[in-house]
Symmetry: C2
Subunit: 141 residues, 2 copies
Amino acid sequence: MPEMNDAERRKFLLDGTKTGKLATVRKDGSPHVVPVWYDLDGDSLVFTTGAETVKGRNIKREPRVCMAVDDQAPPYSFVMIEGTAELSEDPEELYHWAKRIAARYMGQAKAEAFGKRNSGEGEVLVRITPSKIISYRDVTA
Amino acid sequence: MPEMNDAERRKFLLDGTKTGKLATVRKDGSPHVVPVWYDLDGDSLVFTTGAETVKGRNIKREPRVCMAVDDQAPPYSFVMIEGTAELSEDPEELYHWAKRIAARYMGQAKAEAFGKRNSGEGEVLVRITPSKIISYRDVTA
């Protein structure tokens, strides 16, 4: 399987509206995975979530996380990023990223509305610093 | 967010070539998530993997797993399934599912070749019995 270089991976992660499947670990030690909207800040993955959601609580307890992003059609490509998550409640930073991420996934016209919703009371910004990255393109080619 | 009923969820899980993002837990307690090709056997999720891959080894140690399947375009829909995985090395069962899954993801013409590859030496069949399911459609509608 050919590996992506850094530029290819960056393009892959930012093209279109691919979601990140964020895996965290529950208090009982079992895994949890749900889709999130994300963006890149340099090499870091950035997304917002409710502090009291399952993933929000899991990250607070266990900051080691893993995210998978893939193209679900032949020839299939995917990126897996393991890393450590940091939480921020800074309102300006939170709104900046929530709006930017909303523009990516919902379009510019809806960016402000979704940006406000996703940076309101109880929301937090999550930043993942990668520690390990795997990225394969055209897995079945 | 509207929830899917059982028929809607089944259709969603089987339509097209959506991959399952399978989350497992590593020996060191950190989460791991990668895409897998899957099918349904009744209510169970079925897929094949190498016994010595990271996910294969993780499942053997900790059978509690979680899988996310989503539509990565507006209005966004997703299913999350938590459950317990069982492994089988029965060659007939393994080839049956590997071929069927390959037909789904690669087309009938390539089913035999990919089915053989994914049921060869070192491959195992994984069957997830769901314990908890969440399924939302049209999240942003």
